[in-house]
């Protein structure tokens, strides 16, 4: 079993997670170094969301360990994990629909008692997402999809997390909004120093935003590398970025195999 890297904020070792009898995660290990953005790519049903749920405690792994800041956290309740400093931004914009935008944001800071700093952070997230300031007193259920996505990211930020788990922030958003949101994710990482674990289907966006990437297939990590190199990899290009090499004429497409199968 590999030891966790010294600068690793979060390290996941050989976790196996089940949905009833179905094994969704088949021995995944990954590391998230402090201050970096790490991404997990994979198709529908590869197990990306399950990894995040296992880290944040919504699901418990049958085997393996999740270590955050040197302490094992697997099998704990999700609210305990959240208070420990991990903010999970689930897919599908899980806002509190009948609370106002401002109340939603303040709920993000529920576990904090430093009121003055919370007020500062409220201004800080309004700076990143000015639209939320405009809509502060509106019920969150009436925001558009993109605004709700901004709200859940901002709300997670209000907890001053040391690690943020971002699940499919691009889901169902227009290309221009996707660009805007990933731009903000990047700025948050650079300016606020928030470490991020980003799960995405939009491989292109994810690889351009993150520093390091893992490729997940059917519950296993099949490839991992610096994002720059993943972007150059032929397999990634063909299967995740949809770039086909026309230059190799005559070569039958089906003869090219994914290297990991």
């Amino acid at each position: 079993m590999a030891e966790s890297l010294p600068d690793s904020l979060l390290s996941v070792r050989n976790i196996e997670t089940y949905y009833g009898p179905i094994m969704a995660i088949r021995g995944v290990s990954l590391d998230v170094p402090k201050g970096r953005i790490v991404t997990v790519l994979g198709a529908n049903g590869a197990g990306k969301t399950t990894i995040l749920k296992t880290i944040s405690g919504v699901m418990d792994p049958q085997k393996g360990s999740v270590t955050f800041e040197g302490a094992e956290i697997q099998g704990r309740d999700p609210d305990w994990v959240a208070r420990r400093g991990i903010a999970h931004v689930p897919e599908g914009r899980e806002v509190f629909p009948f609370l106002t935008v401002r109340e939603n944001l303040l709920m993000g800071a529920f576990a904090r008692s430093d009121r003055a700093a919370v007020a500062e952070d409220l201004d800080m997230v309004y700076g990143y997402f000015p639209i939320l300031k405009e809509r502060a007193e509106q019920q969150a259920g009436y925001l558009s999809g993109g605004q709700q996505q901004m709200l859940v990211i901002a709300r997670a930020l209000m907890a001053r997390p040391r690690l943020m788990l971002l699940d499919e922030p691009s889901l169902g958003l227009s290309p221009i909004l996707v660009k805007e949101i990933f731009g903000i994710v990047r700025r948050l990482n650079e300016e606020q120093g928030v470490t991020m674990l980003l799960v995405e289907q939009n491989a292109n966006m994810a690889l351009q935003t993150a520093n390091y990437g893992y490729v997940l297939e059917l519950g296993r990590i099949v490839m991992d590398d610096e994002c720059g190199r993943l972007l150059e990899s032929d397999d990634i290009k063909e299967f995740y970025l949809g770039v086909k090499k026309d230059a190799v004429r005559g070569k039958k497409r089906w003869r090219r195999k994914k290297t990991w199968r």
């Binding site: 944040s56 919504v58 309740d77 999700p78 609210d79 959240a82 208070r83 903010a87 999970h88 931004v89 689930p90 599908g92 914009r93 899980e94 806002v95 509190f96 629909p97 009948f98 609370l99 109340e103 939603n104 303040l106 709920m107 993000g108 529920f110 576990a111 259920g141 558009s144 999809g145 709700q148 859940v152 709300r155 997670a156 907890a159 169902g172």
Partner: protein, 299 residues
Amino acid sequence: MELIQVLVAGIAQGCVYGLIALGFVLIYKATEQVNFAQGDIMMLGMFAAFTLIAIAGFPWWLGALIGIAITGVFGFILDAAVLRRIIGQPQFAVIILTIAVGFIFRSVAGGVWGADPVSFDTPYGGMVITIDENETGRTVLDVAELAIILGTVVLVGALYAFFRFTRIGVAMQASSQNQLAAYYMGIPVKYVISLIWGISAAVSCIAGILLAPKIATFDPDVGFLAITAFAAAVIGGFGSLPGAVLGGLIIGITEQLAQAYLPGEYARSIAPISGFIILLVVLLIRPDGLFAQIQRKKV
């Protein structure tokens, strides 16, 4: 004027239904569990107050306060020790469990306090206010009924402020609107839900203590009142707190009007079921209830 008397009695009765309905709705909103033991929790609260005031000799206000506190703690423990275990089970399991728990409470109360009607003294019990004395008649108002109305207004105001302005109150709303997201915020959802059970139990105890001087005596079956209160909650939209109180008021006033103005035979037979007639009509016209909060998720 007789009409004013009838209306005051109806509003008071409706407030009691409304408070019990509030208890149903609080729990339903937070957990999607329907607590059919709600009325029996109220009954236990009333007997707790009876024990403290009539047997142990506490002054009324102190006995009532302690009784409310005990019932609240009891509700908290009931969730933490029993209901929490069946989270994730099908809805009917919860329904059957709470019905069973209600039966147990009733028979235990029958064993401890007996099946005979009991009562405890309320300082304003039996007092009336007489106004508007002239040839056409006078209006006699029961102070117990006025106290119910006043108590309900104060309690509903306090609950509103609590849910709107305190951090734990907003966290309760958050937990009931999106439980998973609440977990992700670090809100201790299980504790919050138990707390809501506690509040719900305390509210029904208050309803019972306010009701006690109006009905003079009560026995372990007093909790059956909650069936009508359940109808009130459904009329209000089952999930809307103002709706629950309003549903209670509608039923209470209708019952009293039917009682007073329907011809003899009908008054006796129709009045007790008038709430359910309204329930049928409301469900036919607005199947979601009068004040349903409906949220469609954006994709």
